[in-house]
């Protein structure tokens, strides 16, 4: 059986006394587009930081295609491409230099790096901007460049943390379309963090994260059935409300 692109079990993390994630478990199957839905402050970025091992979790495990992120981080990290929420481009470099630098960070150089650079730029419609400085790109082009960069080493798992922030409607739709195509045609497992309901399609897998806890996980119809709601917005509100209620009841009982 194919191992999931990403599997998280019982992941918890705290910053001092503040619990950012509480026993989070989720799976991103290979070739799937999984939307991670949560409000600002839900813990999405902390989750991404732990998966990419910017820092380690307090407890729990993270596996990328079966490779443990802590114990076998080179194997895990070499299989994932990341687009962080905040822009992480070096504005002083050209488009080509950005990609060649990133390829080098994955041990890819020479003709292979050049070939991958040409390929990903072609894929994301940036081939004609090869020698332009990154600072001269539009916001949408910068985001496309970041995704192209995340794919330079041909990862099988793509993590995107609210990648459409600051983009106009057209750029947003184009970006989602391109990433969905990567999942469907190239078999990439995709974890797409968002707080925007209209970025989620009924064919996606959905994970709802709220205040550091997973409220629901499954295909969109499964989550709707679990919440007994007609659409994603209603389902999200019901799940969040139910959590708030149970927390209040627990507090009252204590």
């Amino acid at each position: 059986m194919t191992k999931p692109a990403l599997r998280i079990d019982g992941l918890s993390h705290s910053f001092g006394s503040r619990k950012a994630l509480d026993r989070v478990s989720l799976t991103v199957p290979a070739g799937s587009f999984t939307a991670l839905l949560g409000l600002n402050g839900a813990g999405k970025t902390t989750l991404f930081s732990l998966v990419t091992r910017l820092y380690d979790s307090t407890s729990g495990t993270i596996q990328v295609f079966g490779f443990d992120v802590r114990r076998d981080s080179p194997a895990a990290l070499s299989r994932m491409g990341i687009v962080f929420q905040a822009r992480t481009l070096d504005l002083d470099l050209s488009v080509r230099q950005s990609l060649m630098y990133h390829a080098a960070l994955h041990g890819i150089g020479g003709s292979r790096a050049r070939a991958r650079t040409a390929y990903v730029l072609e894929q994301f419609g940036l081939a004609d901007r090869l020698h332009d400085k990154v600072r001269n790109l539009s916001g949408g082009q910068m985001r496309r460049l970041e995704i192209a960069r995340a794919l330079i080493h041909d990862p099988a798992l793509l993590l995107l943390d609210e990648p459409t922030i600051g983009l106009d409607v057209e750029a947003r739709q184009g970006l989602i379309r391109e990433v969905r195509r990567l999942a469907a045609e190239e078999g990439n497992g995709v974890l797409w963090a968002t707080h925007l309901l209209d970025e989620i399609s009924t064919t996606d897998r959905l994970v709802v994260l709220h205040k550091g806890r997973i409220l629901a996980e499954g295909s969109v119809p499964e989550v709707l059935a679990q919440a007994q709601a007609p659409d994603i917005q209603a389902a999200f509100l019901k799940l969040v409300e139910a959590t708030g209620r149970s927390a209040a009841e627990k507090e009252a009982a204590e």
């Binding site: 820092y55 380690d56 990341i82 962080f84 822009r87 080098a104 994955h106 150089g109």
Partner: protein, 280 residues
Amino acid sequence: MSARERTSPLTPGGYAICFAGIVWREALRFFSQKGRFLSALVRPLVWLFIFAAGLRSVLGVSIIPPYETYVLYEVYVTPGLVAMIQLFNGLQSSLSMVYDREVGAMRILLVSPFPRWFLLLAKLIAGVFVSILQVYAFLFVAYLWEVEPPMIGYLTLLPVLVLTGLMLGAMGLLLSSLFRQLENFASVMNFVIFPMFFASSALYPLWRIQESSPLLYEICRLNPFTYVVEAIRFALYGQFHGSSLAIVASVAAAFLILSLFAYNPSKGLIARRGAPAMAD
């Protein structure tokens, strides 16, 4: 090629490519920021042309090793200015690390599959490489200003610059891990650079300092920057000053170990506090 069947990038060739990429990026950034290169060059030259020239008539320097004759104050102060270039560069590159962390470019470096110690060391060495370029550009201009050490000195200086650059770069790396925001770090530079520079043998020989203030003399002796200056001073005259080199190497190792600890994903300061803009 499929990532799913890919072999580990952690081969000797992979390490070499990654290292070259990090150095290349630092060099590109340095050369694209012409203002940075100019200010790195102008700063010590202002000291040499104005400060040292002004003090020439007031401060004579007696015969102290490695000098074999009386030397002009400009000659005496040149190794200190070389060290100053490296001090500024070490702090400048750590400043860029704080900036990189703030804007996120540092995250891209740290999510590379190569070990974190290797990535940070490569970045450190890249910074040292840039500082050495600045030093030799400064020494060229100083040579035209009649600061003329023996030719062999330019050669013996090189390995010492690598060591002193590593020490000051590692210090900057450690400092960069302590500060989350650029604004905080910029103010810290003033508290680090100026005391380190002035409370050392960069501008005055230690024996002169001892005559005027025994307390300041002791502070200078405890300041590792003094040994950076002395190691450079002797190397520039074709000699290796063993005790200074040993102290610089030890301090460099200590700073390096501490900074690697600070950037360790499971134990370090960043793990405990989270990086900026990450605590969603």
